[in-house]
């Protein structure tokens, strides 16, 4: 009927394609201008740099190394944050002692305390995992804690009058009611793990996406650098998709909240 309807008739998939083409064109234009071309070489060169990196025998090692650090750090952060958040919500002393410090450390960029960790933990995989664990632990603890304290009091009362014991209330009310927050924590935690990666790999790592970007910088190889940056972006996108899937699968019962 009118213009607005016409544009909304274009399916989402097509919009995605248009968006992709626009970005590709912008990238290509950047590669034509000699000044910006220093950072943005064209698609073919960047894509081919993948083979160079594979030939050097570092490409797969870098991806694997980063994924291992991110996954291990995230998993540790998650496993630690879950009980900490619950203890903070249930026991005032734990909350009163921990909360100010969690807030305090959370605002410090991880890059700042990396050298301190290296002094104690040495170089290699260990400090990388520690840095990512700290960063993800902090953000996930805060998020899950919010979830536990926000469980609707009347739901707990309703369960109690129907005969629920403390254990029933924990397993059948608090746990499912907190699930949406746990999934949000996973989302925030995984994206924090990725953004912390560069800082974590500044710890004298021998491989890794972040470490490689730094070392490529020394040899002015912008094509593989751009390639690695894109790979980090793609990993982030895949993680996001996975969390979205978890959300749909497990928290479809939620009322949609207006933002």
């Amino acid at each position: 009927m009118n213009n607005k309807n016409k544009t909304s008739k274009i399916p989402k998939k097509v919009w995605l394609l248009i968006s992709f083409a626009t970005a590709m064109l912008a990238w290509y234009l950047l590669s034509l201008n000699p000044v910006t071309a220093r950072s943005f070489q064209n698609q073919v060169v960047v894509f081919n740099s993948m083979f160079t990196m594979i030939e050097r025998g570092v490409f797969w090692k870098d991806i694997a190394s980063s994924l291992i650090s991110v996954l291990a750090g995230f998993a540790l952060g998650f496993v630690l944050s879950l009980p900490t958040a619950i203890l903070m919500a249930w026991y005032a002393p734990v909350r009163n002692i921990l909360e100010p410090w969690i807030q305090f450390i959370r605002n410090i960029p991880p890059l700042a305390y990396v050298p301190l960790i290296v002094m104690t933990a040495g170089v290699g995989r260990k400090p990388q995992i520690i840095v990512i664990t700290i960063a993800t632990f902090l953000i996930m603890t805060v998020t899950i804690y919010q979830g536990v304290i926000n469980v609707d009091e009347t739901l707990i009362k309703a369960a109690r009058v129907l005969g629920a014991t403390d254990k029933d209330i924990f397993l059948k009310v608090i746990a499912p009611a907190t699930l949406p927050f746990i999934i949000t924590a996973i989302r925030l935690g995984s994206s924090t793990a990725l953004t912390t990666l560069i800082a974590a790999e500044s710890t004298g790592a021998v491989a890794g996406l972040g470490m490689r970007i730094r070392s490529l910088n020394n040899s002015f190889e912008s094509a593989p650098m751009l390639l690695y940056i894109i790979i980090i972006g793609i990993i982030g996108m895949l993680v996001e998709k996975f969390v979205k899937y978890l959300e749909r699968r497990f928290t479809g019962w939620q009322e949609k909240r207006e933002v």
Partner: protein, 263 residues
């Protein structure tokens, strides 16, 4: 019903409740005595903040009185018990459970599982006319439907008294009238003891055999009004002279208390 011997279901003896607040002590209830008889339908009215919910929570066992005691079937109440069912104003349905799962929740806790639990749940879901919505989640239901589920869930564990805290308070006038009518029909069939809090004087009179008027802070019972209008009651009952007379009386008493609070 006149002359019929009825036993005391719940006995409230000199109950006092003091809350500790930042601004010091706050006496919510002071010396409340009340007998709730078996099969009786009692409504409680009173100005906001006079302690109605506090009293209900004490009977439910969700709160301990500061002094005094509550007896249910002769036994002193400490903590909740499935013989005392509660319906809350905010529905309090578990949003991650379907209608059927919500109604089965209390049954499962009682150890009733599988087919048997399902059959009992279905009986009460039919009672509230939601058989077409058994597998829906609460977010897919209207307010009135949610409260019907909450009522079915309370009934399912077969309590001997139902405590209802402004259950229809959040509903529009039409839905409210409809649910009042349904509740009346159920009560006439099952004669389950009901302790029902409301702000709505009309609602209190149409439902109750006795209306308890509570006074403002500290909360106590000001007057107990017998409602001798015969059942079944319908919406036309609201036009009858005796109804209007009672309404006039109760309303002016509540209004007096409301003015007390404003002072």
């Amino acid at each position: 019903m006149a002359g019929e011997e009825r036993s005391v279901k719940v006995k409230i003896e000199n109950v006092r409740k003091v809350y500790d607040t930042r601004n010091g002590e706050m006496v919510a209830l002071n010396g409340v005595d009340l007998d709730i008889m078996e099969n009786e339908f009692i409504c409680v009215v009173g100005p906001s903040g006079c302690g109605k919910s506090t009293l209900l929570n004490i009977i439910a066992g969700l709160l301990e009185p500061s002094s005094g005691r509550v007896l249910c079937d002769g036994e002193e109440v400490h903590g909740t018990g499935t013989e005392r069912g509660v319906v809350f104003q905010q529905y309090a349905l578990f949003p991650w459970m379907t209608v059927k799962k919500n109604v089965m929740f209390g049954l499962n806790l009682k150890g009733i599982k599988g087919k048997e639990a399902e059959e009992i749940a279905m009986k009460y879901i039919k009672m509230v006319q939601l058989e077409d919505f058994v597998d829906h989640y609460p977010k897919e239901l209207s307010g009135g439907m949610k409260q019907r589920v909450a009522i079915a869930r309370a009934y399912a564990v077969n309590p001997s008294i139902l405590l209802m805290d402004e259950p229809f308070g959040a509903l529009d006038a039409q839905t409210r009238t409809q649910l009042q009518q349904e509740l009346l029909e159920t009560w006439e069939k099952e004669k389950k003891t009901c302790f029902f809090i409301t702000h709505d004087v009309d609602e209190a009179i149409i439902l109750a055999q006795k209306v308890i008027i509570m006074s403002a802070r500290p909360g106590r019972i000001k007057e107990i009004v017998d409602i001798n209008i015969p059942y079944p009651r319908t919406q036309e009952t609201k036009m009858s002279p005796e109804f209007l007379e009672l309404k006039n009386h109760i309303w002016s008493q509540v209004y007096q208390e409301y003015l007390e609070v404003r002072k």
